[in-house]
Every structure is written in structure tokens, then in C-alpha cells.
């Protein structure tokens, strides 16, 4: 006869179970499997390539799987000068990416138009796509991009992902 009732977690009955919040689990998964879409448009793309190479090694942070198809990626890194002629293409590629998705504006040009105060250059990519992280620099060092990606990971960890999943309107 059982005289004492065991409350809570019983490993003999329930096995190896970890209790957590749904948000924490979802965000943990998402933040450590960011698949970037390199939107390389100018010299920033060279630094982006360096960040992917062995010396700076973006794979240490779980985002080395660069995909050149918007359907297979969830973070667009706009690396370079966005001209007005290119702007619709950038927006359409962003629209083709599956939710959830994030945008990093890498460098001065993508953030603000940079040194190109010109009739031909979009003065900041945030005019056509919602930007999560801006990176300063012309072009930024790979470390700056890594810092931005870590900032993005921290931002993803703070998201209310479960509420978004449940509610239909994101």
C-alpha cells in the first residue's frame, strides 16, 4: 500500500524529460540554426565570405549553412549597395523566404545608403524590408558581422514565438 504520494517529476515512470517553456525551446532551436541568405551586392559580400571562411568561421555560432535560395533560408544578410533598380528584386526575394525570417543590413550602404548620396541608390534597405540588425562599417569587419549575428540570436531568444505560432496573424 502506498503511504506517500510522489508529486512532480518521477524519472522511473516518465523517463528522461526536461520541462521548459515552449518559447525557450523554439527560440533555442531557431537561434542556433539560422540559415543565412547572402544578398551580396557589393564589397560587403567579400567580408561576408571571409566571415564564412575558416579564419573567422561563422559556423562556430551555428549559422554556416548559407543558402542561395530564399526558400531554404530564414535570414537575409543584405551585404552591399542596394540601387533602386535592384530594390524590387531584394523585396521579392525577401517575400519568397519562409516565416520566421530576419534581415541584417550589413554595412553603411545597406543601412543608410552610405556614401552613395545619389539618384540611383536606395537610402537604406529598411525602406523596403524590415531590418532586425544594422551593422556599421564600410565594409564591416567579419567580427562585426559575427557580433551582429550574435545580436540577432539574442533577439530571436527574446521573441514570443509560441504566441505567434498560435495566433494566425503574425
Amino acid at each position: 500500500m502506498v503511504t506517500a504520494t510522489e508529486y512532480g517529476y518521477n524519472s522511473k515512470i516518465e523517463g528522461d524529460v526536461v520541462v521548459s517553456r515552449a518559447d525557450a525551446v523554439i527560440n533555442w532551436i531557431r537561434s542556433h540554426s539560422v540559415w543565412p541568405m547572402p544578398m551580396g551586392l557589393a564589397c560587403c559580400a567579400i567580408e561576408l565570405m571571409a566571415a564564412g571562411g575558416s579564419r573567422f568561421d561563422i559556423s562556430r555560432f551555428g549559422m554556416e549553412v548559407m543558402r542561395f535560395s530564399p526558400r531554404q533560408s530564414d535570414c537575409m544578410i543584405v551585404a552591399g549597395t542596394v540601387t533602386y533598380k535592384m530594390a524590387p528584386a531584394v523585396r521579392r526575394i525577401y517575400d519568397q523566404m519562409a516565416e520566421p525570417k530576419w534581415v541584417v543590413a550589413m554595412g553603411a550602404c545597406a543601412s543608410t545608403g552610405g556614401m552613395y548620396r545619389s539618384y540611383a541608390v536606395l537610402q537604406g534597405v529598411d525602406r523596403i524590408v524590415p531590418v532586425d540588425v544594422y551593422v556599421s562599417g564600410c565594409p564591416p569587419r567579419p567580427e562585426a558581422l559575427l557580433d551582429a549575428m550574435i545580436t540577432l540570436q539574442n533577439k530571436i531568444r527574446r521573441e514570443r514565438s509560441t504566441a505567434r505560432l498560435i495566433s494566425s496573424n503574425r
Binding site: P88, R91, S118, Y119
Partner: protein, 214 residues
């Protein structure tokens, strides 16, 4: 040597006139003789290579306003020649196309059309090449401000979706350039050439959107 070239070119062609030049020999050629003259240069004088086609916008008030410039190179004798030709009309400038002589002139003339609005008659496919189709201005004309003019974003669906427009760039005290006077450019101190539009320096008068006829 350059004088010799000019003399031989000009003694048989009365329509040519000498053109002041700081470097290579240069001649002025009327637009009516241009294609025949350039073909002659290519086939008879050895200038087989067309290096560049561009244009000059002298100013809105100047007549003629536009001049087309052709840079030729003689591969065998390593000599250059510059041929300049004034456009007859200033409001709607035209020039005969040399795309039939050199294939490279195709894109060069498209770029010149894109930037200056000079229509090259006889060009096989005269479309914009740098700016997008439907852009209403010609950016390298003197009356076009560096910051640009407000107009619609290319891609109507994206423009509607994002509410974005092509707008004049904030000059923010710039552009940051070295001045035009005082010694070589390498020794001049760059300065901000303040082209910001303020109450003291208002925005320049808007040029008329030139119609795209194609």
C-alpha cells in the same frame, strides 16, 4: 606625329575641323558625315577599335548643347583619335548610330542614351541600360541634381506593397570631394561641398520629366 595624322585626315575631308585637345589628336565632325567618316577611319586609316562612346552636356543655355564623343584606337600603330560631333537639336538630341560598324557601340550608345537622352538613330535596341525602363530623367544632364528627383520605384507591385518611392537623397553636407583649383588632386585637401537643400540654398528647379517614347 599627331599633327601629321590630323593633317592627312583633314586634307582630304573638308568637313572636318581641328579640335583643341590636351592629350590625343581630336577632330570635329558634323553628324551628317559621322558614320561614313568613322567607317573610313576603321577600314582605311587603321582605327579598328572603338574604345568609348560618350557625350558632353555643355549647359542648358549653350548651343549646341550636346556633343557626342568617340574614342578610337589604332592597334597596329598604337595611336588614339578622338572624334566629336555636335547634336543638331538641343531639346530632342539625336545622332546616327555606329552600332553597325562596331558591335561594342551597341551598349555604349545605350548608356549614352540612358544618361544624356541622346537618341541614336538606327540603333538596333535602344533601351536604358543602367537605370530601369520607365525612369523619367537623364541623370548626367546638367539640369539634373546629383541627389535625384522623386519618382516611382521600379516594380509597381513592390512599390505598392512597401509604400517606398524613389526620393532625393539627403546630401548631409556632401558630397565630400577635393576641389577643382589649386594643384594636383593628390595634394588637395578634400572638402565637403555642401549641396544640402536648406532655406538658404533651396532645392533647384525641377526639370521637366522627358517623355519615354518607347
Amino acid at each position: 606625329m599627331s599633327d601629321e595624322l590630323l593633317t592627312t585626315l583633314m586634307e582630304r575631308r573638308t568637313f572636318l575641323s581641328a579640335r583643341p585637345s590636351a592629350d590625343h589628336p581630336a577632330v570635329n565632325c558634323p553628324a551628317s558625315h559621322l558614320v561614313a567618316f568613322l567607317r573610313d577611319l576603321r577600314d582605311a586609316e587603321g582605327f579598328e577599335m572603338l574604345l568609348d562612346v560618350t557625350a558632353v552636356d555643355w549647359a542648358e543655355s549653350r548651343r549646341p548643347r550636346f556633343t557626342c564623343v568617340y574614342h578610337l584606337f589604332d592597334l597596329e600603330r598604337s595611336r588614339y583619335l578622338r572624334v566629336a560631333s555636335d547634336c543638331h537639336e538641343d531639346a530632342n538630341p539625336t545622332m546616327p548610330s555606329v552600332a553597325g560598324l562596331w558591335a561594342t557601340a551597341d551598349w555604349h550608345e545605350r548608356e549614352t542614351y540612358d544618361m544624356f537622352g541622346i537618341r541614336f538613330e538606327g540603333h538596333p535596341d535602344l533601351r536604358r541600360i543602367l537605370m530601369w525602363d520607365g525612369y523619367p530623367y537623364y541623370p548626367l544632364r546638367k539640369d539634373f541634381p546629383l541627389a535625384g528627383e522623386e519618382t516611382d520605384l521600379p516594380g509597381a507591385d513592390v512599390a505598392e506593397h512597401t509604400d517606398a518611392r524613389v526620393s532625393a537623397a539627403p546630401m548631409a553636407g556632401g558630397p565630400f570631394v577635393s576641389g577643382t583649383s589649386g594643384g594636383p588632386m593628390s595634394e588637395r585637401e578634400p572638402r565637403a561641398k555642401d549641396e544640402s537643400w536648406t532655406e538658404n540654398a533651396p532645392k533647384p528647379k525641377k526639370p521637366d520629366p522627358t517623355k519615354e517614347s518607347s
